[in-house]
Amino acid sequence: MSSVERARRPGSRPGAVKAVPVRHPGRWVAIVVIGVLVAMAVNSVVTNPSWDWPFQLENAFSTPVLQGVATTLWLTVVAMLMGLVLGVILAVMRLSPNPVLTGAAWFYIWLFRGTPVYVQLIIWATIGALYKQVSLGIPFGEAFVTFDTRTLIPNVVAALLGLGLNEAAYMAEIVRAGILSVDEGQTEAASALGMSRLLTLRRIVLPQAMRVVVPPTGNETISMLKTTSLVVAVPYYELLFNAQAIGTRTFRPFPMLIMASLWYLAMTSVLMIGQYYIERHYAKGSVRTLPLTPVQRLRQRFTRSELR
């Protein structure tokens, strides 16, 4: 008798599995405890007049606050773009066979990652005191064009330099990790086809590195959104400063801090949605079937319930 025949005893065909599920009493306890805590928190937020919700709502869409939101957003976008572009260059330099480039990139990362971004912002704002003029010309020799530092670096540029150059140091390490995560066989296959180093990087390595690069970059973007509040050091005015200004003027600082935080939360949520779709785009080819987007999932649920 073969093992298959032995296993298949006549007349005893096991049916569908109908087991008694395991009970989870711990879950019920957790529901009660957390439910009570949430109820207490909601109650205090609604009933305590110090939150001053009407005052928050009154100011949430006022001109200075909306201007602050806009400034925060575009500072974040531009600083992140600077960080990304410069970060890719630094990462490629660090991985290049040229020891001078490697050393220079290492030094940059060491310097900009090792000092507070707040200090860097102040330095860019006050660099005019250090160097009154900036000239283009022969090194150590004659100058062709000379600029006044204050006109070359107005506050907005100082804010962007401070944020963007600092971010580049972090992005460089993120991009480097992404490049290192790509299998060496990919580079070899590209070289064997006669592709140059730069073409291989652009067409083969970086697109694959993006899968690893995107999640921490989303993290960095959200972090940047909040770090922009430090540009007050320059000084340059964004959401938090404008909100606090209203709070100080009206002697109600606390509600304005909460209102600003809610704005940051709203912007973060939008960024997280964007990140989800970017991740999905770069998952192409690495998973057999792309996961459904939330919209597709909803639609699927509806069509299925219609069938029933």
């Binding site: 070289s191 064997a192 086809l193 006669g194 592709m195 140059s196 694959q208 690495s286």
Partner: protein
């Protein structure tokens, strides 16, 4: 009509290669003629893959001379001095040498079609329509005409390897290098890949194949090389060598794999 003497497709003279303090190639001499199919066998660690990778300069040789179609690989000789080639020149040489890897190394973020079109379009600057037409022809030829839009992760190992062969052929190479092309495949998928390679040999492609497939070596190969410990131990006609190896090391190896 003048009978022009054409140089052999590949000539290796006393090729040596070191990895740190270990010498992996200890003076390899080998000549492969045009349209010849040369199979290299040997135990793992014998240096056969390393030698193959030297031929398209993925590994740099430390001593000896290696040339393809009479042209030194990776170096230029001026007088009695060797000059390293620029990256661009090495890339130019590699365009004529196709390579197929054990682990396929398809680009996972591109479809089969895009994998094949990439190098002709980006490296040679070929017209997209022309490249696409050739890619489709190559896919048909390896029996995957229907799978042009599939990503590598949606293909079986054997299908991936056939796409990889098509990708190498798209550059219209004069020489094809195969580095254990069937070693990473499930046994039932090996046949399809070997069939494609057999067809390629019949079409007159010059091929150097590092392999463990003795049947392929016997039936398709024009010459057989047995390498062990960084040297060529024995070389000759495949049928004779497989039937009656002369050297003890060849005998010992063949008794284990046949």
């Amino acid at each position: 009509m003048s009978t022009e003497v054409r140089p052999p497709m590949v000539t290796a003279e006393q090729v040596e290669k070191w990895f740190g303090r270990t010498q992996v190639l200890k003076g390899i001499d080998l000549e492969v003629a045009e349209k010849e199919v040369c199979c290299i066998i040997g135990p793992s660690g014998s240096g056969k893959s390393t030698f193959l990778r030297c031929i398209n300069h993925l590994e740099v040789v430390d001593a000896g001379r290696l040339s393809v179609a009479g042209e030194l690989i990776g170096y230029r000789q001026r007088g009695d001095k060797l000059h390293e080639m620029r990256e661009r020149e090495v890339a130019r040489q590699r365009q004529d040498i196709g390579m197929v890897f054990q682990r396929f190394n398809l680009f996972p973020h591109m479809t089969a079609m895009q994998n094949i079109m990439e190098a002709p379009v980006r490296v040679k600057g070929e017209n997209r329509a022309v490249a696409q037409e050739r890619a489709q022809r190559l896919l048909d030829r390896v029996g995957l005409g229907e799978r042009a839009d599939a990503y590598p992760s949606q293909l079986s190992g054997g299908q991936q390897q056939r796409v990889a062969i098509a990708r190498a052929l798209a550059m219209e190479p004069r020489l094809m290098l195969f580095d254990e092309p069937t070693s990473a495949l499930d046994p039932e998928l090996v046949g399809d890949v070997l069939d494609v390679m057999r067809q390629l040999a019949e079409d007159g492609m010059t091929m150097i194949v590092v392999t463990h497939e003795m049947g392929f070596a016997r039936e398709v190969g024009d010459s057989l090389v047995f390498m062990d410990d960084g040297v060529v131990v024995e070389a000759g006609a495949p049928r004779e060598m497989l039937a009656a190896p002369r050297h003890v090391r060849t005998k010992a190896f063949l008794s284990k794999v046949l």
